[in-house]
Assembly symmetry: C2
């Protein structure tokens, strides 16, 4: 669904939010290990997100990454747009420049609703909602395995 950079960004941000909920501020070493992604690559991605104001960071001992107040409410769509600003998610599946209900490509009728569902998904989900689902899942698994 996403490219590697976006995928790592989402996983990292969700992990940061989950940890922030536990009053902890994870560093890259920990984040990369937990989300199973290359350390230096994740570092680069997070540095960019800090510059773009999505997250905050603190250097030195006890440092790490965290969300300021309600910043975790950022949608997945906003994150995608920050990471791949040129990507057009409304593109025609057949590759036509002009493709709509009035001038449909052979995929249009079936593909348009799918594209809309994807847009709905990335617009409705935020780092916060994903983190909540993640916590829920972890709790259920722990409970079930007891």
């Amino acid at each position: 669904m996403f490219n590697k950079e976006t995928e790592y960004a989402i996983r990292a941000l969700v992990y940061i939010q989950v940890q922030n909920g536990e009053s902890s501020r994870p560093g890259i070493e920990e984040i990369a290990k937990e989300i199973d992604a290359p350390k230096f690559y994740v570092a680069k991605i997070l540095q960019r997100l800090v510059k773009q104001g999505v997250i905050q960071s603190i250097k030195g001992k006890g440092g790490g990454f965290y969300f300021e107040k309600d910043r975790a409410g950022i949608t997945i769509k906003e994150i995608i747009n920050l990471i791949e600003p040129s990507k057009d998610r409304q593109e025609c599946g057949f590759g036509l420049k002009q493709c709509d209900a009035n001038n449909p490509c052979p995929f249009h009728d079936k593909y348009a609703p799918i594209r809309n569902s994807i847009d709905e998904l990335i617009t409705s989900e935020t780092v916060l909602t994903l983190a909540q689902k993640y916590i829920l899942k972890t709790h259920r698994t722990v409970t079930e395995s007891e």
Copy 2:
């Protein structure tokens, strides 16, 4: 939806089928021009599809590309699998190795139905069905503009 190579392959195959319907066997020059794609790149893609037995070709004057008997009934999914054999279209959107209804990632509930719709789309559509829609569209446009 697709990468460039797959996209050009689909457009080229649909164009070939449309022309075959008019008892014509287009060459690369014509195909590349009509589907608005780089000539040598399309040539490379079609050469591979000939080797893989999807289409047939004839060299020399009056030559070009064509489908044998019912070969245009090939599904889009089969074409994708020939061009990108390693691609896994059932991958988890969050990047988990293990992700299903019992062990869902935070995207799973919303993303699984979308993935299924895409699979349904590429399984049900063939070069032939796309070519028929393409012809239909062309006819309607011509009729409407008269």
